[in-house]
Amino acid sequence: MVAGLFSPAPAMTSNSRIELVCPAGSLPALKTAVDHGADCVYLGFKDATNARNFTGLNFDANAMREGVRYAHDRRRKVLLALNTYPQAGNWSAWTAAIDRAADLGIDAVILADPGLMAYAQKTHPALRLHLSVQGSATSYEAINFYAERFGIQRAVLPRVLSLPQVEQVIANTAVEIEVFGFGGLCVMVEGRCALSAYATGESPNCNGACSPGKHVRWEQTPSGMETRLNGILIDRFGDGERAGYPTLCKGRFDVGGETYYAIEEPTSLNTLELLPDLARAGIRAIKIEGRQRSPAYVAQVTRVWREALDRVMRDIDGFRVQPAWIAELDKVSEGRSHTLGAYYRPWK
């Protein structure tokens, strides 16, 4: 299909392994993920170098050292998200984080910024590079650019492609493809969303934060519970309604005189039922979102996905989604509901 350096990735065979990549916002969450069957755990430092820069979350160097030891002792991998965009004035914080990752024996760094990729490639040639979802690479032409330039070995796809589009990417690149399987759903192309920056001044790209808690206000008013982000009304809930966190793309707004979830409902991505198709397409890893979530969430979600992945790798044709899995996952889903997102074309 395309001339280039790369031969297509090998097709899924019954013994190809798909890695389960689970989130850890703390050392207890990391241990929980490992104990419940994660192949890889991804995490970040306690600062703006990663896209889940939330108060009380993430790792200092000591916790990370212990986490790496815990995972490596059990032959699991640790991936470090350094997936925000450094600026001239804070560049050295990001390069120092890459140096620390290499020192700590991190198995791969997940990067979005090309400048940082060049730094990592030059300074730590043995360090494995993954292209973050924040890099917004939605086509094999984009992915192959990062591969040719910086030697990235894996790319995480933004949550915007339909299943046939995912297949098309995989068929035209040698880079391993990782997709999101479960968790909070970004409706916008990751890395291309400045909605939070517009409302609060803090963005996923530069600050590692979306709709950050310090700008949130909950207020009981005569017309209901109101949730605001930096003063902007994101939603209002009646007595019988469960008031959700004001993530700004998941509020109810008025368009043309009609009030509804104009961008997206508060819902989670859940692709369990697509697992055989994703496996046949040749994905090499499936990612669970939620570094900001509790160890209990990590335990529940990792357990279900471990079981599902083992089933699909053992008997792809006989794979059936177990109702108990869905029930378990819906308990921890945003809005207690789930969607296939863009994998399912009509969602678009």
Binding site: E141, N205, A342
Partner: protein, 307 residues
């Protein structure tokens, strides 16, 4: 003021049309642009591959007409590339040699570098936030770059002061801010339609579809798969600080008064209008209240007046 103008002449650019207008309205608009103060004009569809009132050949005709009128013309490419047909369209844009190309996705950068092009523009969606990434793109053939709209003036100045390569800088200084892209079409969603059968409902919404909070405050603008601010990013009052970093200043097309806006920027740039006066006169050209927070390192929605 005049001394600075002599040192740093400002080019005025008209960004790509982000909305979907009927064919004749679009052609009429660019006929006016030919006589406008714009030095640079970006043409082409950047938002949605389903929009087809003008196809690439039509855009090339518009481009040729504008060039004949003395404009520097750039072909803009689509920001979100999803399908093989998106890539085909991109390859056609890269393959033509008559006009420079604005790369709005790394797939375009890959194709342009693969074709050996050394004259392209790195668009505002490439997430260039530091001098190292900017240098990489400059080495790859970019001769101008557009700063991400969320970048503040101070961060931009710092970037340019810290060993940035020889490359021209462009800053978006007018228009509803392009804030996000999605696979989902929010205009189709509003009409309970799917994107694949959207009935082209965005056609003729000259400035998109306003989204308000439940208190009635205009907040965002739905423009198909793109989400914009409701407020109009307006840096007319900040033009002096913009010009300290940027050689090219971009105005984004809107339903009405675009030419007047270009004139206000030109008059201000040549010193015929003081920045505050230009800003004051621009009130009649705005579909919503102004904002300039991003430029001042604040929430983009704010209108910040330095004290």
């Amino acid at each position: 003021m005049n001394a600075m103008n002599a040192m740093n002449p400002m080019k005025l650019a008209l960004g790509p049309l982000l909305y979907y207008w009927p064919r004749q309205a679009t052609l009429d608009f660019y006929a006016q642009v030919a006589d406008s103060p714009a030095d640079v004009v970006y043409v082409g569809e950047t938002v949605c591959s389903r929009r087809h009132e003008l196809r690439l050949d039509d855009w090339l005709e518009v481009a040729a007409m504008l060039r004949a009128a003395g404009k520097e013309v750039v072909l803009s490419s689509q920001s979100l590339i999803e399908s093989e047909s998106d890539l085909k369209a991109l390859r056609r844009i890269v393959a033509q040699a008559d006009f420079r190309v604005e790369a709005n996705d790394m797939s375009a950068v890959h194709l342009l570098t693969g074709a050996g092009r050394r004259d392209w523009i790195a668009g505002p969606t490439l997430n260039i936030f530091n001098p190292h990434t900017l240098a990489l793109l400059a080495e790859s053939g970019a001769t101008r770059w557009v700063a991400p709209p969320e970048m503040s003036g101070a961060v931009l100045a710092e970037l340019l002061a810290s060993g940035a390569p020889q490359i021209k800088t462009e800053v978006l200084a007018w228009g509803r801010l392009p804030l996000a892209h999605s696979a989902r079409c929010f205009t189709a969603r509003h009409f309970n339609l799917q994107k694949d059968t959207c009935e082209f409902r965005c056609l003729g919404m000259s400035d998109g579809l306003v989204l308000r909070t439940r208190e009635g405050e205009p907040f965002l603008t739905l423009n198909g798969v793109q989400t914009q601010s409701a407020r109009v990013h307006n840096l007319l009052a900040d033009l002096s600080s913009v010009r300290r970093s940027a050689q090219v200043v971009r105005v984004s097309p809107q339903g009405e008064h675009t030419i007047r806006v270009l004139e206000l920027f030109r008059e201000s740039a040549v010193g015929r209008l003081a920045p505050q006066e230009a800003f004051r006169r621009s009130a009649e050209c705005m579909v919503e209240a102004p904002c300039n927070g991003f430029w001042h390192g604040r929430p983009g929605v704010e209108q910040y007046v330095p004290s």
